[in-house]
C-alpha cells in the first residue's frame, strides 16, 4: 500500500518495529479519512434532495442565477420593488445559468456544483503534494484531509460560491507554483495566462480571493520584480475592465452592492474564537505546515504554497466580520493540506536537502554533538507522520446520529447529538460565535414542513416577504428583499428603507416569514406594527415564524388612539377587520410592544376576556365576534390606592 522506503538494510529491530507501527497507523488514518469522505458524500446527497434553503442565503444565490438566466443583473437598487440586490460577484451563478434554462429554479445543481468544486480542490491538493513529495498515499491523505475538515464539510455541498472560489484559488496556485522554475528563467506564457485567468475567476466568484491574488504577486515579485510587474499590469487591466464594464452596466449598483455593502462591523473576539477552534481541529496538520514554512524560510526558497498559506491564514481573520464565519478558513485549510502533505511526504521519503548557510551549519554542529542517529529520526518519522493524520482524523469527527446505519454507529461510538433534540448530528467542533450550526441531513419532516410554508404563500396572489428565498421560488412568487444586504447597506448609510416600510404598512405582502430577523431596524419596526406572529413552523431545527397582516392602518391608528385616551373605569370599543382568534393574537402582540404582559385569559360566551399588566396598571380586553371581524373592548382596571 505505502510507497515509502523502509529504513536502511542495517536497521535495527526497533526501526523494523517502527515500520510496522507506522504501517498500522497509516491504515488507521486511511480508514478514518475514507470514512469522513463517505459521510461527506452522504451529506451532499442528502442536501441535493432538499428543495429549500438549508443554509441561510442559498436561495438568494439561486435568485441571482435565475436573474442572470433572464439576462438581468442582480446588482440593482434595493430601494424599489422587489427591494432585492446581490452582494456576490457573478461567475458561480453564470456557470449555473444553463441549469436554470433546462431544469428551472432548483437547489440541487448549485449544491452539486459546490460539491464537485470541493472534489476538484481535493484533487488539486493531492496532485500538488504528489508533484512535490512523490508519495502517492500521502497525496491521497492530503486530498481527503481537505474533505474531512468540519469547515469544508459544512459548506462544500451548499448552493454557495465560497468553495467554488477556493477551487479556483487552489488550481491557480498549483498551476503557478512552478512557473518560475525553468532553467532559462523564462516564465511560460501559457502557464502564466492560465494561472492568472484562474485567479480572475476566483476573484469574480467571491471577493475574498483578493488575498490569494496578493500572495501570487508577492511570490512573483520576490522571484523577479520586473516580470512580476510586467504581468501585474495586464492582469489588473483585465480585472479592472471587467469591474468597470459591470459597474457601468449596472449604473454603479455593482460598486454599492459588492464593495460598499461588504464593509461590515468587525468583531475581533469572533475571529479569535474561530482561530482557536480552527487550531483545535486542525493542529495536527498546521504543525506540519508550519514546520515546512519555517524550513523554506531558513533553508530553501519560499514557494508559492508557503506564501499562499501565510496569506490565507491572515485572510481568515476576516471571519470576524458580521455575517462571516468558519467558511473563511477554507482557503487556509486547502493551503495547510498542501504544505502538511509535502512535509509528510518529504519526511517519509527523507527528501530534505537544506541549503548551506550559517543557521544550517550551526544546527549540523548541534546535531553531531547530540549524537543523533539518522536511523532513529527516520523511525520516529515513520510513526509520527501517520500518527498526526490519525489524530487529525479523530479531531474532526462529525456524523449524523440517527438512521439505520448512523444511529447504530453513533451508539457504538457513544456519540450523541451536539444539538440535542434540534437535530441529530455530532460535531467535535463544538460551537463558537460565527460557526455554522449545520451539518445534519434534512429529514422528510423538514421537507414536509417546507411545503407547508409554501402552501401558505400559495393561498394568496400577493408576494410574501420571506427571509429565505426558497419558499417564494417554490410558490412561484416574486422574491422580496435580501435581508442581510439591506441591513449592511443601511448600517453604511447607503439604503433608505422608506419604500419598503410603506409597502409593509400597506400590507403589500401576503405574509412575512422570519427566521433570524436580519433586517434593518426601521423595516422590523414596520413589520411589528403592521403584521403579527401567527404560527411557527420548524424546519431543519430552525423556527420559521409566519407573520400575518394585522388590521388596516386606519384601524391600527384608531386602536392606538383609543388606548391612549382610556381613563380608569372607562370602556372603549373598537371594531377591527380580523377574525376573533386573529384579533386576540394581534392585540396581544401589539400590547407586548408597549410592554403590556398578558396575565390571564378566560372564555366568556362567544368572547375572550384577556387581562394585561404593566407596572401597576391592569388592562382588560374583551374580544368578541362582530360581523366578519371582531370587536375589541378595552377597559382600564382601576388600581386600589
Amino acid at each position: 500500500m505505502a510507497t515509502y522506503t523502509s529504513p536502511s538494510t542495517d536497521s535495527s529491530y526497533a526501526s523494523r518495529a517502527a515500520l510496522w507501527i507506522g504501517r498500522i497507523l497509516l491504515a488507521a488514518a486511511a480508514l478514518l479519512l475514507i470514512a469522513h469522505t463517505l459521510i461527506y458524500i452522504h451529506y451532499a446527497i442528502g442536501l441535493m434532495r432538499f428543495p429549500f434553503d438549508y443554509d441561510q442565503g442559498e436561495g438568494f444565490e439561486l435568485v441571482d442565477t435565475v436573474m442572470f438566466s433572464h439576462g438581468d443583473w442582480p446588482y440593482r437598487s434595493n430601494e424599489v420593488y422587489p427591494f432585492y440586490a446581490s452582494n456576490y460577484p457573478p461567475l458561480f451563478h453564470l456557470i449555473l445559468v444553463p441549469f436554470v434554462w433546462v431544469f428551472g429554479p432548483a437547489y440541487w445543481y448549485g449544491r452539486l456544483m459546490g460539491f464537485l468544486g470541493t472534489l476538484i480542490t481535493a484533487s488539486a491538493i493531492g496532485y500538488a503534494v504528489h508533484r512535490e513529495g512523490r508519495h502517492r498515499l500521502i497525496a491521497i491523505f492530503s486530498a481527503l484531509a481537505f474533505l474531512a475538515s468540519n469547515y469544508i464539510y459544512h459548506v462544500g455541498p451548499l448552493f454557495r460560491q465560497h468553495l467554488f472560489m477556493v477551487m479556483f484559488e487552489t488550481v491557480a496556485v498549483v498551476v503557478l507554483a512552478r512557473v518560475t522554475d525553468r532553467a532559462d528563467r523564462k516564465w511560460p506564457r501559457r502557464t502564466m495566462i492560465a494561472g492568472l485567468a484562474l485567479l480572475i475567476c476566483a476573484g469574480y466568484t467571491k471577493q475574498l480571493a483578493a488575498a490569494t491574488v496578493a500572495a501570487v504577486f508577492v511570490f512573483l515579485f520576490l522571484r523577479n520584480p520586473r516580470r512580476a510587474v510586467a504581468w501585474a499590469v495586464p492582469f489588473a487591466g483585465v480585472a479592472g475592465a471587467i469591474f468597470l464594464f459591470i459597474n457601468v452596466s449596472t449604473h454603479g449598483e455593482w460598486w454599492t452592492n459588492i464593495i460598499a455593502a461588504n464593509v461590515n462591523t468587525f468583531m475581533p473576539q469572533q475571529a479569535l474564537d474561530l482561530f482557536r477552534q480552527w487550531w483545535r481541529l486542525h493542529w495536527a496538520l498546521v504543525i506540519m505546515a508550519g514546520l515546512f514554512a519555517l524550513y523554506e524560510l531558513y533553508f530553501a526558497r519560499l514557494s508559492l504554497y508557503t506564501i499562499w498559506w501565510a496569506a490565507a491564514i491572515a485572510d481568515s481573520a476576516l471571519s470576524g466580520k458580521w455575517g462571516a464565519g468558519d467558511s473563511y478558513f477554507a482557503t487556509a485549510i486547502a493551503a495547510t493540506c498542501i504544505l502538511s502533505g509535502i512535509f509528510a511526504a518529504r519526511t517519509l521519503r527523507g527528501m530534505w536537502n537544506p541549503a548551506d548557510n550559517p543557521i544550517s551549519r550551526r544546527l549540523r554542529v548541534l546535531w553531531n554533538r547530540a549524537g543523533t542517529r539518522t536511523v532513529w529520526i527516520r523511525a520516529a518519522a515513520l510513526i509520527a507522520v501517520p500518527a498526526l493524520y490519525v489524530i487529525y482524523g479523530l479531531s474532526v469527527i462529525h456524523m449524523p446520529t440517527e438512521g439505520r446505519f448512523f444511529g447504530s454507529l453513533s451508539d457504538a461510538l457513544n456519540l450523541t447529538s451536539s444539538y440535542g433534540d434540534r437535530y441529530a448530528f455530532y460535531d467535535s467542533a463544538g460551537w463558537v460565535p460565527g460557526y455554522a450550526t449545520i451539518g445534519h441531513v434534512p429529514s422528510q419532516t423538514d421537507i414536509n414542513n417546507g411545503w407547508r410554508i409554501v402552501d401558505i404563500l400559495c393561498a394568496s396572489d400577493k408576494p410574501a416577504m420571506s427571509e429565505e428565498a426558497g419558499f417564494s421560488l417554490q410558490a412561484d412568487r416574486d422574491v422580496i428583499t435580501n435581508p442581510t444586504q439591506l441591513k449592511n447597506l443601511y448600517e453604511n448609510d447607503l439604503y433608505d428603507p422608506t419604500n419598503l416600510v410603506n409597502a409593509i404598512r400597506a400590507h403589500d405582502f401576503s405574509v412575512l416569514i422570519f427566521r433570524a430577523q436580519f433586517y434593518p431596524p426601521p423595516v422590523l419596526d414596520a413589520a411589528y406594527e403592521a403584521y403579527y406572529p401567527s404560527e411557527v413552523i420548524v424546519m431543519n431545527g430552525f423556527n420559521y415564524e409566519i407573520w400575518r397582516p394585522g388590521p388596516s392602518q386606519p384601524e391600527r391608528d384608531a386602536t392606538a388612539a383609543a388606548l391612549a385616551d382610556l381613563a380608569p373605569g372607562e370602556e372603549i370599543t373598537q371594531p377591527i377587520s380580523l377574525e376573533p382568534d386573529a384579533a386576540a393574537t394581534w392585540i396581544t402582540h401589539m400590547l407586548s410592544r408597549q410592554h403590556w404582559e398578558r396575565s390571564e385569559s378566560a372564555p366568556a360566551a362567544n368572547c375572550t376576556a384577556q387581562h394585561y399588566t404593566r407596572d401597576n396598571e391592569t388592562l382588560a380586553v374583551e374580544v368578541c365576534p362582530a360581523g366578519d371581524g371582531a370587536e375589541l373592548t378595552f377597559g382600564a382596571v382601576a388600581t386600589p390606592e
Binding site: R185, F221, L222, R223, N224, P225, R226, R227, V229, F266, P268, Q269, L272, L297, Y298, R301, L302, A355, N357, P358, I359
Partner: protein, 73 residues
Amino acid sequence: MRDIFRDDFTFTKRHLGVMLCAAGPVLIAAMLAAEWLDADSGGFGLVQRLGVVLGAAALVLGLSLIPLGNQPA
C-alpha cells in the same frame, strides 16, 4: 535600487529580512498611533495587541534572516 528591475534580479534572504525588519516597527508604531489618535476607543484592544505581537514577530524573523545573506528568498 535600479537593480531591482534587472532581468536576472531576485530577492535574497537578506532583502527579505530587511523588509521584515522595517515592516515590524511600522506595524507596532501604527498600533500605538491608533491608540494615541483614538484614545476614547476603550483601551488597547485585541486587534492592537495582535498587531504589536505580529510586528514584534516580523522584527525577530527579519533579524534572523539577515545573516543568510545572498541566498535567494
